[in-house]
Symmetry: C2
Subunit: 300 residues, 2 copies
Amino acid sequence: MLKVPEHQVAGHIASDGKLGPLVDDQGRFFKPLQGDSRGEHEAKFYESFTSNKKVPDHIHRYFPVYHGTQLVEASDGSGKLPHLVLDDVVSGYSNPSVMDVKIGSRTWYPDVSEEYFKKCIKKDRQTTTVSLGFRVSGFKIFDHQESSFWRAEKKLVLGYNADGARLALRKFVSSNSPADSNLTPNCAFASEVYGGSNGILAQLLELKDWFEIQTLYHFNSCSILMIYENESILMKEGDDAPAARAQVKLVDFAHVLDGNGVIDHNFLGGLCSFIKFIKDILQSVDKRDETNTSLLENGR
Amino acid sequence: MLKVPEHQVAGHIASDGKLGPLVDDQGRFFKPLQGDSRGEHEAKFYESFTSNKKVPDHIHRYFPVYHGTQLVEASDGSGKLPHLVLDDVVSGYSNPSVMDVKIGSRTWYPDVSEEYFKKCIKKDRQTTTVSLGFRVSGFKIFDHQESSFWRAEKKLVLGYNADGARLALRKFVSSNSPADSNLTPNCAFASEVYGGSNGILAQLLELKDWFEIQTLYHFNSCSILMIYENESILMKEGDDAPAARAQVKLVDFAHVLDGNGVIDHNFLGGLCSFIKFIKDILQSVDKRDETNTSLLENGR
């Protein structure tokens, strides 16, 4: 009963007989263990992290719940392979908008092979990893004109400069047609999704507080997933309307290392840069709303 | 009346007929403009920064005061050359202990030449720049046994790993003989210099607050200088004793770039890592003092 996940926006995607993650209809996400020991490394991280009492509970909730590994039929037809079994973080959402942002100003780390270093740093310099401390890896949003999902093209996403990344973060919380690149994103959901006491920004700031002191792990090449329920926002009129359920999750731990008493300054620096982008969008929306209010008041 | 500065701990040093900075006896520091336009770049930065009203006053005080450029007799005997004229940050100290820490997990930046990139990244990987987000470039402390200055050997400093950097930061605030590498640094001045409302940590935290929001400049390859008055600490007994006058200054701006709306995540990440090292030392000293107090109390 496993199928290809509908809402995955980055990484290896199980389609056309390729190896990739699968989901079941019980809210579980099955990620095949990657080759050359990376998969085992990720499983070990989950084992260590899940039972680590030094990690506060409010931080644990930013990570997918781990249920061990399991042999399941692989998506590429190569028979049964070991998979990480995780909670499917978008399970329970009707029309989740999802963005994957890889955090850090480098994806390589000390003591990697020269080959891996060269591969990583080339991509880090080509994308916004070096310049911004993060890069958008992919995103999809619900297109209200078309009543279907719109998915950003991978090639375009990886070609973003600072302005492209900024625009993508605005588009991600807009209700006007994402497919039309001439339209300026209206940021209709910005306050709802990025703002508020349960919004994305509040969650990122909570993570930042932890990253300023935690020296347990270095999260090399990890991503932040941002998820929100699109349908609910549109339906939201009355007091009992469902919320956007904006959520931040950390994913991809194949390159996590021990912190050895040093904070993860690479992740923290990128996270702070990302936070500033989100804050700037919220500020621009606040300014616009103030201007509209004062125009209305003057017009009375 | 210009002479070679007594308290410089890193960078080009004017001795044996080499080109380097000079000081006068009026508290001015003369830094020769570096070749290949780096000197001009640094002068332009000082011009821009000094008059930049967007930089708050309490941040301006972390930078040396700039007095323009001036033609003065160069230290290498090559005649009159243009020099930056700055306040000598150690002027007014009797026995300043000084440490230079280059901040950031990289010293290169986007759009540099391949040659410069390769030179920088090689050194960044050999030192603690990549692993810790900062590297100690040099330091000198007053040796109370010898009543003279002890200077860390450049070769050893550049070979530090995480433990070496930690030890240097402890040694920097210790009163026992720095020359004897078998002695564990006693951190006698840690609370005085790193702690307190005017100490190094408080100043670093003030800088951090600014770096979380400022998008004006990217301080590539800049250093934090830490300075404190050594003699005064020893004399300090009565209420009217002089303070350690611990001071943080930012120096070396030949590679500063416009921020273009993005925070300096490279500097900020490294600064946060450095702050954690300082906090850890303060915490270990607090713990020791508590233990000593309770031992004393139990002994009564």
